[in-house]
C-alpha cells in the first residue's frame, strides 16, 4: 500500500482552485506525492571540490524544498566513483563512500524540514564528466566535438559492471541519508545516455548493438538500484525522448521511445521526459524557444509507457502543466531554472501570488557558469546561491532615525529593484521617471525578436513588489536640480539609464542617424540599408529585428566579437540568427567617416572600407553623468546603479539595484 510522508491540505490555497490538477496527489511507486510539482535535480557547483556537501548547498535546497509545497524536491545528481570520471562539475556532491552520508543527510533533513519529499539523483556524467580527471569514460571512445570536454576511454566489460555496482552502492547511501525517492540521470550526454545512443555506443558486446543491447547497462543499473533501495523507495529515470543528434547519427525518436519501454520493463516507477544533449546543435531551452514547445514529447511518452511522465523544458507557467495533466498528456511538472530564479515559484502559484514570481528569462547564464567551474548564479535573481548568507537578504532598519527618504531617479529595472528592497527595509522611497510608464529602456529592449518580450517579466515583478512595499511612483516627472533641492531627500539613487554616444564627426541631428530605442519602438524611420553602430546585445537585437523585416543590416562595433555581453550559453543562438538573417558584422572596427549614402569603416589595424547605408542606428552607450554633481553639491548621499553607472545588461541593473537597496 502506498504511503504518504507528509500531510498537505491545499483546500485553503487559492492556486489549488485555479490549478486543481497541479495540486492533486499522485502515486509514484509505493509513495504518494501530495502534488504534481517537482524541483528537478540541478547542479549548482556549491559543494566542496572533494564532493562533500556545504552549508551553502543545504540552504539552497531548503529554500527550493519550501517552494515545492509538499512536492518532490531533488538534490543535484551525485557522482559515484572515487577517481571522478563521472564527475561533471567541480562542485558536484559525491556519494562514492559512506563518509559522504552525513553531509547528504543534511540535505535530506533540510528538504524534510519543509515537509517535501526528498529526491536523490545518481549521475555519472560520462562523456561530459572527468572535470578534474584526465580522461573520461564511456561505452566507446568517440572523440569530443567540444574541446572543453576530456578525451574518452572505452570502458571494459568489468568497468561497466563496476559502474552498475557504484549506482547501487550510492543509492543505498542515499537511502541511509534519508532520501525518499531515487532517480537515475540519463540525460544531456551523461553516461546512461552515452550507452543508449548509437552515436556514442559502438560496442559489439552485450552492452552494444541494437537499442535493447544499448539499454542493457541501463537495465542492470535500474535493477541493481531497485534491489539496493527496496520496495518502499520509488526509482525513476530521466531519459532523452529525442536526442537532437541527427547531425552525428544519434538515436531516432522511435529508438528513444523503445528505451522508455525497456526502462519501464526493467521496473522504473516514473520517467522524466527530457530532450537534447549538451552537444546538440539545436536549441532546447533558450528564450527563443516558445514556452510549452516540447510538451508534445511528454504526450508521446505517455502513449508508449504506463508509468508517470514528468517533464521540465520551457514550462515556466503553471497553465501549461495544468492543461497537459488535465488532458492526460503529463503527470508531473518538473521545474528547474524557474526555481533557480525564484525558489518559491510554485509556492507563490499555490498561494495565488503569481504576480510576485521573479520569472526566469531563459538566458542560461546559470548553465554557462556551471560549465566554467563557477558557482551557480542567476541573471535575474541576486540572492540565488546566497541563501546561506543573511547579508544577502533585506534587513529591516531598526532605528526610526536611520529610516531615510530616498529619491530614485529612473523607473527602469535598476531603479525599481533598488526601490522595493529599500522600501521593504523601511525607507520611504520615491521613484521618478520622465516617462509615463515604468520599465525604462527595457520597454524598447523587450521588443527585440527571439523571445525578448519575456524580459518584461522582470519589470512586472518589480512593479508588484514596489506596490507591496509602498514605493511611491512619480511618472512623467523629470528630475531637475531644482526638484532635488526642493525635495531634499536623504539619499539619491541615479538609475537614469545610459546616454548614447555620438557618431564620430557627425552632427547628432543628421536626419539619417537614429537611436536604437526609437527604432525598436517604431518611432524612427529606417531605410533599406542600415548600419547598426555597436555590436553588443542592443545592437544585435535591433539588427535582428530589422533584418527580419527584410532590411540589409550591417553591424559595426568595437568589441572583438559581436555579443560580447551575452553569456556563451545563449550567444551561440544569436550568432546563428545573425547568419540566418544575413546580417554582416564588422567587429573590432569603428566608424571612421559618414558620408552621403554610406560610411567608412576602419578596422582595428587601420584598414578602411566603405559600407553603403541610408540609416545609422546608434546603440553604443556611455555612463550617464547627469545630476551627479548637483546631488553631490547638495551634500546628499548618492549612489549610481545600472547603465547609468556602466552600460551593461539587465542582469547588472537588477543586481546593482538590489545591492544598493540593501546598503542604504
Amino acid at each position: 500500500m502506498a504511503k504518504q510522508l507528509f500531510e498537505w491540505d491545499y483546500s485553503s490555497y487559492p492556486g489549488a482552485k485555479q490549478y486543481p490538477n497541479l495540486f492533486t496527489p499522485i502515486e509514484i511507486g509505493n509513495l504518494i506525492v501530495p502534488n504534481r510539482i517537482k524541483y528537478a535535480a540541478t547542479e549548482d557547483n556549491l559543494n566542496r571540490h572533494d564532493g562533500f556537501v556545504t552549508d551553502a548547498d543545504v540552504e539552497y535546497m531548503r529554500r527550493r524544498a519550501e517552494g515545492v509545497v509538499g512536492g518532490l524536491c531533488f538534490m543535484q545528481g551525485v557522482y559515484m566513483d572515487e577517481p571522478g570520471k563521472g564527475q561533471g562539475y567541480v562542485g558536484q556532491a559525491a556519494a562514492w563512500d559512506d563518509k559522504f552520508i552525513p553531509g547528504l543527510k543534511k540535505i535530506a533533513d533540510a528538504i524534510h524540514s519543509e515537509k517535501a519529499v526528498a529526491g536523490f539523483q545518481l549521475m555519472d556524467c560520462g562523456r561530459v564528466g572527468a572535470v578534474e580527471a584526465p580522461v573520461g569514460h564511456g561505452p566507446s571512445a568517440v572523440p569530443q566535438r567540444l574541446r572543453i570536454f576530456k578525451p574518452m576511454a572505452e570502458m571494459t566489460n568489468a568497468e561497466v559492471k563496476e559502474v552498475v555496482k557504484q549506482h547501487a552502492d550510492a543509492a543505498r547511501r542515499g537511502v541511509e541519508a534519508g532520501f525518499d525517492v531515487m532517480e537515475i540521470s540519463g540525460i544531456v550526454g551523461y553516461l546512461i545516455s552515452n550507452f543508449i545512443s548509437k552515436y556514442t555506443n559502438r560496442r559489439t558486446d552485450e552492452y552494444g548493438g541494437d537499442i535493447r543491447g544499448r539499454m542493457q547497462a541501463v537495465v542492470e543499473i535500474i535493477r541493481s538500484v531497485k534491489e539496493a533501495v527496496g520496495p518502499d523507495v520509488p526509482v525513476g529515470i530521466r531519459l532523452c525522448s529525442e536526442e537532437l543528434l541527427d547531425d552525428v547519427g544519434g538515436n531516432t525518436p522511435e529508438e528513444s521511445m523503445e528505451s522508455y519501454k525497456i526502462a519501464e520493463e526493467a521496473g522504473v516507477d516514473y520517467i522524466s521526459c527530457t530532450l537534447g544533449w549538451q552537444e546538440s546543435i539545436f536549441p532546447v531551452i533558450s528564450r527563443d524557444i516558445p514556452q510549452g514547445n516540447w510538451l508534445y514529447l511528454a504526450k508521446r511518452a505517455k502513449e508508449h509507457v504506463k508509468v508517470p511522465i514528468q517533464m521540465a523544458y520551457r514550462i515556466f507557467l503553471p497553465k501549461f502543466p495544468e492543461e497537459a495533466i488535465a488532458k492526460g498528456e503529463l503527470d508531473m511538472w518538473e521545474i528547474c531554472r524557474s526555481m533557480i530564479a525564484d525558489p518559491l515559484m510554485p509556492k507563490k502559484v499555490a498561494e495565488g501570488r503569481e504576480d510576485e514570481i521573479r520569472h526566469c528569462v531563459a538566458c542560461n547564464l546559470c548553465l554557462a557558469r556551471l560549465f566554467r567551474d563557477a558557482p551557480m548564479t542567476c541573471y535575474i535573481s541576486p540572492v540565488c546561491a546566497h541563501e546561506h548568507d543573511p547579508e544577502f537578504f533585506p534587513k529591516p532598519v531598526e532605528d526610526e532615525d536611520d529610516k531615510k527618504e530616498v529619491m530614485i531617479v529612473g523607473a527602469g529595472p535598476a531603479g525599481l529593484e533598488c526601490a522595493y528592497v529599500a522600501a521593504q527595509r523601511g525607507h520611504e522611497v520615491h521613484v521618478y521617471d520622465k516617462r509615463e510608464e515604468i520599465g525604462g529602456t527595457l520597454n524598447e529592449a523587450s521588443l527585440a525578436p527571439y523571445g525578448d518580450e519575456e524580459l518584461m517579466t522582470c519589470v512586472n515583478f518589480q512593479k508588484t513588489m514596489c506596490g507591496k512595499y509602498g514605493v511611491e511612483l512619480h511618472l512623467g516627472t523629470e528630475v531637475t536640480e531644482e526638484l532635488i533641492e526642493e525635495e531634499a531627500p536623504d539619499t539619491v539613487i541615479l538609475a537614469t539609464g545610459p546616454v548614447y554616444k555620438k557618431v564620430p564627426g557627425v552632427d547628432d541631428n543628421a536626419k539619417n542617424i537614429v537611436n536604437v530605442l526609437d527604432v525598436l519602438a517604431g518611432r524612427a524611420e529606417v531605410g533599406e540599408k542600415v548600419v547598426v553602430w555597436g555590436n553588443r546585445k542592443p545592437g544585435i537585437g535591433v539588427a535582428l529585428k530589422l533584418a527580419k523585416e527584410g532590411k540589409k543590416v550591417t553591424i559595426v562595433g568595437e568589441e572583438k566579437s559581436a555579443g560580447f555581453d551575452i553569456n556563451p550559453s545563449f550567444k551561440w543562438r544569436y550568432m546563428i540568427y545573425l547568419r540566418q538573417n544575413g546580417v554582416t558584422a564588422y567587429n573590432d572596427c569603428t566608424i571612421d567617416q559618414v558620408g552621403d549614402g554610406g560610411i567608412v569603416v576602419k578596422t582595428f589595424d587601420g584598414h578602411r572600407f566603405p559600407v553603403q547605408c541610408d540609416t545609422i542606428i546608434v546603440t553604443e552607450r556611455d555612463a550617464n553623468e547627469s545630476l551627479k554633481s548637483a546631488v553631490q553639491s547638495e551634500g546628499i548621499e548618492l549612489y549610481v546603479v545600472g547603465d547609468a553607472l556602466v552600460p551593461r545588461n539587465l542582469s547588472s541593473a537588477v543586481h546593482d539595484g538590489y545591492r544598493i537597496g540593501l546598503r542604504i
Binding site: 571512445a141 569530443q144 566535438r145 552515436y199 547519427g249 546543435i281 584598414h607 578602411r608 572600407f609
Partner: protein
C-alpha cells in the same frame, strides 16, 4: 578622406600573401630546429611524418563542429573535402573540390601550392613535402571517421612535388 579601394585591397592582399608565406617558412624553421634537437640519428622523414600526423589530428578535431550528417553521406563527403581544401587554401594553395566517380567520393585538386616553393628555400626534399601532405590529410580524417562513425579514406593520385603538375586526392567513404 575618401577610401581608395584599390589601395586598401592591395594592402590587404599583400598582407594575406605574406601571412600565408610565413606559415610555410615558420614550419620549416621549426623543422630545422626539431632536427637539430633530435640529433644526427633522427630520420628527417620520420620527424616530418610524425609532425604531420600530430598537426593533422589537431586540425581534424577542429573540423568536428563544422561537419554533420544531416544531408546524408554524399553531402558529408563533400563537406569533409571542402574542409580539407579550405585548410590548404588558407595556406595559399589554389584548390578546388570536384565530385568523384561515385556519389560518396570527392576529388580535391590543387593547381598551385606554396609548400614546395618554401621547401626549396630550406633544402627540404620534395618527397618529404609529398608524403607530409598525404599524412596530414590522412590524419585529419582519423577523428572525423570515428566521431561520425563513417570510415573515410584518402588516396593521393598526383603530387606537384613529384613533378606531376598538380595535386589530386580522392576522398571517399570506405564501404
Amino acid at each position: 578622406m575618401p577610401v581608395n579601394a584599390e589601395k586598401e585591397i592591395t594592402k590587404l592582399w599583400k598582407a594575406k600573401q605574406a601571412a600565408q608565406g610565413e606559415i610555410c617558412n615558420t614550419y620549416y624553421r621549426w623543422r630545422e630546429f626539431a632536427l637539430g634537437l633530435a640529433g644526427d640519428k633522427a630520420d628527417p622523414m620520420t620527424v616530418a611524418l610524425d609532425a604531420a600526423e600530430a598537426f593533422g589530428r589537431y586540425i581534424g578535431k577542429g573540423m568536428l563542429p563544422r561537419l554533420n550528417l544531416l544531408k546524408g553521406d554524399e553531402a558529408f563527403v563533400g563537406m569533409v573535402a571542402k574542409q580539407l581544401a579550405g585548410t590548404w587554401a588558407n595556406e595559399g594553395a589554389v584548390v578546388t573540390v570536384e565530385p568523384g566517380e561515385k556519389a560518396t567520393e570527392a576529388v580535391i585538386r590543387c593547381k598551385r601550392d606554396t609548400w614546395p616553393t618554401a621547401a626549396k628555400t630550406f633544402d627540404v626534399p620534395m618527397e618529404e613535402v609529398t608524403r607530409s601532405r598525404e599524412k596530414l590529410f590522412e590524419s585529419m580524417l582519423v577523428d572525423i571517421s570515428v566521431f561520425f562513425n563513417r570510415p573515410l579514406a584518402i588516396e593521393m593520385q598526383k603530387a606537384i612535388p613529384r613533378g606531376e603538375g598538380e595535386w589530386v586526392f580522392k576522398l571517399y567513404l570506405k564501404q
